[in-house]
């Protein structure tokens, strides 16, 4: 792609709205995802009000409660986390980190965002159809998802499925772009083993998304057929509410297999970019090379591959053939090994570092702590016999919120505090950032740590209320009220973050080109924020890996990837891996 061909767009509309520039599309994705995430945040606080103070808010009846639960879950997993990591961070960082002028298919990239926006609008529309949005739980298990008895079983579920299918179209366009760009558009000297771990995480997550989302796509289409055309893919013969239904011969468990064949890789589609971002934040702000870079790369690749053979650990009590349990418990516990390696290597990166406790670093450290909890409780749920008493209780809720709710969100916050100066040229306010960190980190601990214990007690999740259950002591209600108060505080605190984001665009301290002294390529652009085409007349030349911090005898405490200094311990340059 010659620089001369890359004319910068001139008008406001082509520059900021119908833009094909990856940086603008990244911001569009990010803002949309944050806005829809705020909707999901409000829904979560409303449902917590019902759990903590049952009946206090009269408008939350059982129907609304299940609708809030469902929409909160789906929005957070798909429309916030997936979109923000791949569409937001992926779009912004991949071309800048690999030394490209843009994504290889800029038009497709633009289309990806607009189709994503369409999916969001379809989803939001389901709040306004008769019967409201679906209340089937984010897993949308049939038969109940499309039968009366579940709120939103008409318009709500149809719009949900159409929105998901639309989202997958957008994610596929984006994913193809990200994968091709990493493979084809790396600048001279940027071997795969010199990519920052952020790119590795997003790259592998994008490949996984391309392989996993089709399973959700087909199950969505099949359920639409069951709902609208009367097919019986997932619907056996049933008597519902005293009526014998026309369905026969379908399998509800088939849906669960398809859903989790997507759903489990989805956990890592969210986690791998977070792993990558945290690795880079720790290295930059500890002024130290990431420990065991090659092992970190292989761990990402192995986790990505293994995550396709663990899905049925979500189904130990589903009624599937019980012998599957042996296989899936074993694969699930094996995946803990590469995951543990990542945690060790983050910790060893801190060892004898020079820890700059900036806001991004605080979030990265917070991530290690919350991810450790989430990962370790996963061992309870992955090991089939310990999962059985805990399945579908609040232990599960606490586990997955720690591991794929709180942890990725902390990584996102850390990433935004870290790269905001490159995007806007200004720093976010550190005081507000630290306030945001402390309330969010301690608040989420207060919410989710005690919640595990309610699950061990046996409180089932997705209960609108717990009227007169004898085995639940009254003290559980006090704990639930405490958790709700913590959730409300954390929820309100996110406004501090939003305020900081908006205010700092105009009033933030000017950042300069490289405020953190980072070595990776995106900080070496000739302009900050980078202009259209990113690199000016000449593409950068890469001579080393992105982790040369505190190199002995070097002039500065970091050597950018473009530096030609012979000093380095870069494994790829001096080890056996020096192949393009």
């Amino acid at each position: 792609m010659a620089y001369a061909e890359h004319h910068a767009p001139q008008s406001f509309w082509t520059k900021y709205v119908w833009s094909q520039d990856h940086k603008v599309i990244a911001v569009q994705y990010t803002i949309t995802a944050i806005l829809v995430g705020l909707v999901a945040l409000v829904l979560s606080d409303l449902m917590r009000m019902q759990i903590g103070f049952p009946g206090r808010l009269a408008f939350i009846d059982a129907n609304h409660y299940y609708q809030f639960v469902t929409m909160h879950g789906m929005i957070m997993v798909i429309y916030l986390l997936t979109a923000l990591f791949l569409g937001g961070f992926g779009n912004y960082l991949i071309p800048l980190m690999v030394g490209a002028r843009d994504m290889v298919f800029p038009f497709l990239n633009m289309l990806s965002y607009w189709v994503y926006l369409l999916a969001v609008l379809i989803l939001m529309a389901s709040f306004f159809v008769p019967g409201g949005p679906t209340g089937a739980g984010w897993t949308l298990y049939p038969p109940q998802a499309i039968l009366p008895g579940t709120p939103g079983s008409d318009g709500g579920i149809v719009l949900m499925l159409i929105s998901l299918v639309t989202f997958i179209v957008a994610a596929t366009m984006g994913g193809l772009n990200y994968v091709t760009t990493v493979l084809q558009a790396r600048t001279q000297g940027m071997t795969l083993m010199r990519l920052p771990l952020t790119v590795w995480g997003i790259f592998v997550a994008s490949i996984m998304a391309l392989l996993a989302f089709p399973a959700l796509f087909v199950s969505g289409v099949m359920m639409l057929f069951d709902k609208l055309l009367g097919t019986s893919f997932f619907m056996p013969a049933m008597v519902s509410m005293g009526q014998t239904l026309a369905y026969k011969g379908g399998s509800p468990i088939l849906f669960q297999h398809l859903f989790w064949f997507f759903g489990h890789p989805e956990v890592y589609i969210v986690a791998l970019p977070a792993f990558g971002i945290v690795s880079d934040l720790l290295s930059v702000h500890a002024r130290k090379n990431i420990f065991g870079y090659r092992m970190m790369v292989w761990a990402i690749v192995i986790i990505g591959a293994l995550s396709f053979v663990v899905w049925a650990h979500h189904m130990y009590v589903s009624g599937m053939n019980p012998y599957f349990g042996f296989f899936f418990a074993t694969t699930t516990l094996i995946i803990a090994v590469p995951t543990a390696i990542k945690v060790y290597n983050w910790l060893l990166t801190l060892w004898r570092g020079n820890l700059h406790l900036t806001t991004p670093m605080l979030f990265a450290l917070g991530f290690i702590s919350t991810f450790a909890i989430g990962g370790l409780t996963g061992l309870f749920l992955g090991n089939v016999s310990t999962d059985i008493p805990l399945s579908n209780t609040y232990f599960v809720v606490a586990h997955f919120h720690m591991v794929m709710g709180v942890s990725p969100i902390l990584a996102i916050f850390g990433g935004i505090y870290h790269w905001y100066p490159k995007v806007t040229g200004r720093l976010l306010n550190e005081t507000l950032g630290k306030l945001h960190f402390w309330v969010t980190f301690l608040g989420t601990y207060a919410i989710y740590f005690p919640m595990h214990y309610l699950g061990i007690l046996g409180m089932p999740r997705r209960y609108y209320a717990y009227p007169n259950y004898e085995f639940i002591p009254p003290s559980a209600q006090y704990l639930n009220a405490f958790i709700t108060v913590a959730a409300l505080i954390v929820g309100v605190c996110q406004l501090v973050f939003i305020y900081n984001l908006i205010r700092s665009v105009f009033n933030g301290q000017p950042a300069g080109p490289n405020p953190w002294g980072a070595a990776s390529l995106e900080w070496q652009t000739p302009h900050t924020p980078p202009q259209h085409g990113n690199w000016g007349p000449a593409l950068p030349q890469v001579h080393r890996w992105p982790y040369d911090y505190s190199v002995p005898e070097a002039d500065a405490d970091f050597l950018p990837q473009t530096s030609t200094s012979p000093l380095t311990i870069d494994e790829a340059t001096h080890g056996h891996g020096d192949k393009p």
């Binding site: 509410m241 379908g250 009624g319």
Partner: protein, 379 residues
């Protein structure tokens, strides 16, 4: 520094919370002590790792935070250390997985002499079936389900004729005898979950699933549905009563067989009145699953609460106001959703009841409003 102090406090806090927590496993009431043991092993290993990770972070924060003159060390890769860590992790994982799989092998293999009991789930109630003398359950299929045959038993199957049908959501089991639960759903997914038994399984329409356990403590235990089954999910409750062998036999003797249920008219014909009628209504509200949606305490539910309902003015969708009296209740029960109360969904199933049963339900609902309701309705 602040972070180090907070992490130390956090670590002490969670350990104290764990030690002091009154929220823990309910006392075990089945043979699955091994599940609890596996949980303890897992907790021990993961707890140690959790503490180690946090202590390491705290140590680093205290010793390697940014200070005047402090520099980071440039650290070469260390294959040996990584291999040791991989080995240790693999060991820890194996220590959790191996006992877990051994327990699981037991969990999925019920003993041959286990008592076979069937639980049937539907939105939002439980019912049960036990075998007769031959110890076998007859075949069933949803296409046989009708008001007269709510379990959907195959009328032509001789093994089904002596099966005992329990339509009230309360199952009695003998203590210390292995039970193989067969699970069947008429409509959507459900889950048979009695926390003190530990073992459990989903009910899946279109197939029969199973699990087994041996109750070891007599007592009354709550059955919870633990797989989202629609808007009444949180109130789909039942009970397992674990009896001594003698008590259980006595209970068993009171249950009707499938053959009996097909011969007799569905309900006794003698006209009840007064308290007996109310009591019959209360029992029906339980066994027909009404209580999943209509609370007798006035707490919010899927349908209008019954406490104080009789005699009330109900706002219907479309702006009309209806007086809740006998005629209104009878219509609401026999032709559900014909009138729609504002704020509720039209999802009430039609349940087959004879006139006497409808009267009993109305009497019960009436009794929940006292004399005041009676007077208001007559105005």
């Amino acid at each position: 520094m602040a972070l180090a102090i907070v992490l130390i406090a956090l670590l002490i806090g969670v350990v104290l919370f764990h030690a002091a927590s009154p929220w823990w496993l309910t006392p075990l009431a089945s043979n699955w002590g091994l599940i609890d043991d596996t949980l303890s092993i897992t907790l021990l290993i993961t707890g140690a790792v959790f503490i180690a990770v946090n202590v390491f972070i705290i140590y680093c924060l205290l010793h390697f935070r940014r200070r005047e003159g402090h520099e980071a060390e440039y650290q070469p890769p260390n294959k040996k250390l990584e291999l040791i860590l991989i080995g240790l992790t693999a060991l820890g994982i194996a220590a959790m997985l191996a006992p877990g799989l051994f327990v699981y092998a037991d969990l999925i293999n019920p003993p041959d002499d286990a008592l076979v009991v069937e639980a049937v789930g539907e939105q939002w109630k439980w019912s049960f079936r036990l075998p007769g003398k031959d110890g076998r359950l007859g075949t069933s299929d949803v296409r046989f389900v009708s008001p007269a045959n709510p379990f959907g038993l195959n009328p032509a199957d001789p093994h089904g004729q002596d099966n005992l049908l329990v339509s009230a959501p309360e199952l009695h089991l003998p203590v210390n005898k292995p039970v193989k639960m067969l699970l069947r759903s008429k409509d959507v997914l459900h889950d048979f979950y009695v926390q003190p038994f530990r073992a459990r399984m989903n009910l899946v329409p279109g197939m029969v699933t199973y699990f087994w356990f041996t109750p070891t403590q007599t007592g009354r235990y709550e059955i919870l549905c633990a797989q989202l089954c629609g808007v009444g999910h949180f109130n789909m409750r039942g009970y397992v009563v674990v009896d001594s062998e003698a008590d259980w036999r006595a209970w068993l003797g009171k249950q009707t067989t499938f053959a009996q249920s097909q011969l007799q008219p569905a309900t006794p014909t003698q006209a009840l009145s007064g308290d007996a009628l109310v009591a019959q209504g209360k029992a029906l509200a339980q066994s027909k699953g009404c209580v999943a949606c209509h609370s007798a305490t006035g707490s919010a539910g899927v349908g209008p609460a019954w406490l104080g309902l009789y005699g009330k003015q109900e706002h219907l969708t479309g702006g009309k106001i209806a007086q809740v009296d006998d005629a209104y209740l009878k219509e609401a029960i026999t032709t559900p959703n014909s009138k729609q109360v504002e704020g509720f969904q039209p999802i009430m199933p039609k349940i087959e009841l004879n006139d006497q049963e409808v009267n009993a339900l109305v009497a019960y609902i009436k009794s929940l409003s006292g004399k005041g309701g009676e007077q208001a309705a007559q105005k």
